[in-house]
């Protein structure tokens, strides 16, 4: 799977649950959104990401 985050792309060679991906990338789940890059849908923490999936991670923004 390909994971797009902050203008970088990381590749993983096996399926992962969203929560495990967050742990692997050492991210805080409360500060990010995990998206399916194709459907643009937010993925729940227990969603299994398959090897061919493309994932996008976007950080929460709060400025006004």
């Amino acid at each position: 799977m390909k994971v797009y985050f902050r203008d970088h792309v990381e590749e993983f060679d096996r399926p992962l649950v969203v929560n495990d991906l967050i742990l692997k990338l050492n991210l805080n789940a409360e500060e990010i959104l995990i998206l399916d890059k194709n459907t643009r849908k937010i993925l729940p923490s227990d969603h299994k990401i398959l090897i061919d999936d493309e994932i996008e991670i976007r950080e929460v923004i709060s400025g006004g």
């Binding site: 409360e30 959104l33 849908k41 937010i42 929460v60 923004i61 709060s62 400025g63 006004g64």
Partner: protein
């Protein structure tokens, strides 16, 4: 009505629609980068009653983007300066101010007469307080946020997905958030159009969909989100 003629001729707007806008009370929470263009556009639009809420004063560091203010305003309360500017724009609307920050203790009192709330806040903690209030009182919450060249906008309506369905209560950090007035203007412009469409019941709303403006790539992206049945604010576990 003459001053609004160029908008009342829009399909399904008309003088009835304009009268409806004139009867609304819309609260703008935050009078900074987003709040400046929001307040200006809502005043020009003819929203009859605007409530401006912000406990901050104008500082020199605001003047790169907060287009309601100039160098002579530094040190003055933002709400007071904004109210004066808006009454210069449109004498026919009522502008009230609360020069305090919103919190869990005062929100019921401050927003009790609001038909809708427009988000111009600069932190998630306050947004979550407003989100809970708007869900419980079944009024729309028009969300916007900016960071550098990026802006996001979506609309939370009664019984739809809410802010807590989208975000998991992120913590704010104290670092200055990069901000440009033009990006705030882009997002605020869409928020105002959402206000119009919601209250005039025209067009399509950004419900369950967040638009993300990437100014560096000149592109809008979208995120789809759904109502979470386990949401602690609007779902079954509240």
């Amino acid at each position: 009505m003459e001053r609004y003629q160029r908008q009342t001729i829009i399909n399904n707007w008309g003088e009835n629609g304009q009268r409806k806008l004139a009867g609304l009370t819309i609260s703008i929470i935050g009078l900074g980068g987003l709040g400046s263009p929001l307040a200006i556009y809502l005043a020009y639009l003819g929203i009859g009653n605007l409530l401006l809420i912000d406990g901050d004063t104008v500082s020199t560091g605001n003047l790169n983007r907060q287009i309601l203010y100039n160098e002579d305003d530094v040190g003055k309360m933002k709400a007071e300066v904004t109210a004066k500017r808006l009454q210069m724009i449109n004498k026919n609307i009522s502008v009230k101010i609360i020069d305090k920050y919103i919190d869990e203790n005062n929100i019921n009192d401050y927003l009790k007469n609001s038909d809708g709330v427009v988000d111009a806040l600069d932190n998630m903690q306050s947004r979550f307080i407003v989100n809970r209030y708007t869900v419980e009182n079944k009024i729309p919450f028009f969300h916007g946020a900016i960071h550098g060249f990026e802006g996001r906008v979506t609309t939370f309506i009664p019984d739809g997905p809410c802010l807590a369905c989208l975000y998991k209560n992120p913590q704010d950090n104290k670092k200055p958030i990069p901000a440009i007035g033009a990006v705030a203007g882009t997002i605020a412009s869409i928020q105002v159009q959402e206000v119009i469409k919601y209250f005039l019941n025209i067009g399509e709303l950004l419900v369950g969909e967040m638009k993300i403006w990437d100014g560096l790539k000149n592109k809008f992206f979208e995120i789809k989100y759904e109502k979470n049945s386990n949401c602690t604010v609007c779902g079954g576990s509240k």
